[in-house]
């Protein structure tokens, strides 16, 4: 059986649906920018201070905006019954769900990564530090989407899904937060940062290989009690 066709078909279907609601796509990015711009107001506009807190601020804002965008990940599919069809189709559910997550990453994660250098400039990060920030987000944000999707799949049918989702997912985000912001901080201090980036890449590989299976079995459980 050829597996690339259903993957591509699913990916384009989801992208097409997403681009029909452009306002919704922009919301996580706008949230990201607004949260980051609140920090200089709350802490200090001093460039030295911003330089030291900048990496952590941008990473936490990215993490929260991904968490915010996760809520809608399987929502419409789950409500209108397409989720059952995806899981019942002759193709592996995990493959189709991976396509769904990749599509979600394209519309929420990617814009956020693209706009991050601009925020780095606002927080007075140096040019080479902004480059490291960009790479670390490029490697780390897909992990946030993958692991976050596990939490979404487990909580999709629940009433109080939002608060529970953050409790389930945020502890699992800790390693990526540590390695991501640490790589940028190391770059600020002219220390080697390859190790952290390699760790991020390793975590991304683990998440990409394992999480689609976990997500599809979690979705099967969630679909069984609606």
């Amino acid at each position: 059986m050829n597996y690339s066709n259903p993957f591509v078909a699913m990916l384009f279907r989801d992208l097409r649906i997403a681009f029909r609601q452009r306002a919704e796509i922009m919301l996580p990015v706008i949230f990201f920018v607004v949260v980051v711009s609140l920090f200089p107001l709350a802490i200090s506009p001093d460039p030295a201070v911003l330089k030291s807190i900048g990496p952590g601020v941008i990473w936490i804002a990215a993490l929260l905006s991904i968490l915010l965008s996760l809520q809608s990940l399987f929502r419409s599919d789950f409500n209108d019954g397409s989720m059952e069809q995806i899981l019942l189709s002759p193709f592996p559910g995990s493959l189709l769900i991976l396509a769904r997550i990749v599509a979600q990453w394209c519309v929420t994660g990617l814009p956020l990564i693209i706009i991050s250098p601009l925020l780095g400039l606002l927080l007075h990060l140096d040019a080479h530090v902004i480059w490291v920030l960009f790479i670390s987000l490029l490697l780390g944000v897909p992990y946030l989407n993958m692991v976050g999707a596990i939490g979404v799949a487990l909580t999709i049918g629940l009433r109080q899904a939002g608060a529970l989702l953050s409790l389930l997912v945020l502890p699992l985000y800790v390693p990526v937060l540590i390695f991501g912001s640490n790589a940028v901080i190391s770059a600020t201090n002219d220390l080697p940062y390859n190790g952290q980036l390699l760790w991020l890449a390793a975590l991304l590989v683990i998440a990409t290989t394992l999480s689609p299976f976990v997500i599809s079995s979690a979705l099967r459980v969630s679909c069984s009690y609606r």
């Binding site: 800790v174 390693p175 540590i178």
Partner: protein, 251 residues
């Protein structure tokens, strides 16, 4: 009958609710007695007979609660994850009950370890909380437990809740080592350990024996709670089955 067959027979028997209920009832008094004995030996040995530490004085004696609780917090999560895997693979209800009752006990042990750790930290480090690698990963472990309990209680259907929470426990079990080592790594990059831990490798024998007794007592205590919990859960879950009806009418 070969050893393998015997083992399978035992495994199947253990999975049978009626057999396990009876066995748990027989085991319970013994494990309570053993818990009390070991806890008494550990407490008296640790609080009275063990010599005071040359640096920390009598303040170190809190380790007789703190260290076993911290050991248990990890151990219980592993028991929970293993039982979740058994439940997801072989659909043995008993494993789900064990996982379910372990979660609350494990969270309590984790909380106890955090509280005793910070009480110990106040006189020794001069502050209630340090962003030390071990404390931080213990805190994250508490969050993982709370997430598990939260997910379980949010789903009404018991069987579905077991499956969903089981998946979460397995994801957590894969992530615990990653979280643990990333936190250690984060801490060593940020600051050199400014407070000395137990870096002397050898611990006095009459300090160590009470500690091991307490660790054993905590394990036995966990077993007692597990047996009591699983007995009551079994009764509730199997309330329509024949053996429960016979049990109720005979008593």
């Amino acid at each position: 009958m070969s050893v393998k067959d015997k083992l399978w027979l035992w495994f199947h028997r253990m999975a049978s609710p009626a057999y396990f209920f009876k066995l748990a009832g027989q085991l319970l008094p013994w494990s309570i007695v053993a818990t009390v004995i070991f806890m008494l030996i550990g407490l008296v040995g640790g609080l009275v007979f063990a010599p005071a530490d040359y640096q920390q004085g009598d303040g170190f004696r809190i380790i007789y609660v703190h260290v076993p609780a911290a050991w248990m917090s990890m151990f219980v999560y592993m028991v929970m994850a293993a039982n979740s895997a058994i439940f997801l693979i072989w659909h043995i209800k008993l494993s789900d009950i064990v996982a379910r009752s372990s979660a609350v006990i494990g969270a309590s042990f984790t909380f106890l370890a955090l509280v005793t750790g910070s009480i110990w930290g106040k006189p020794m480090w001069g502050t209630w909380w340090v962003w030390d690698a071990r404390l931080t990963s213990e805190l994250l472990l508490l969050f993982l437990y709370l997430g598990y309990i939260g997910l379980r209680s949010a789903i009404d259907d018991r069987r579905v809740a077991g499956k969903a929470a089981g998946i979460l426990a397995l994801v957590g079990a894969i992530n615990i080592p990653i979280i643990h080592y990333s936190v250690i790594w984060w801490n060593t990059l940020h600051q050199a350990p400014s407070v000395s831990k137990f870096d002397n490798p050898s611990i006095e024998l009459n300090m160590l024996i009470p500690l091991l007794c307490m660790a054993l007592a905590f394990k036995l205590f966990y077993l007692c709670i597990l047996l009591i919990n699983s007995r009551s859960e079994l009764l509730e879950q199997e309330k329509r089955s024949q053996w429960v009806k016979e049990l109720v009418t005979s008593s």
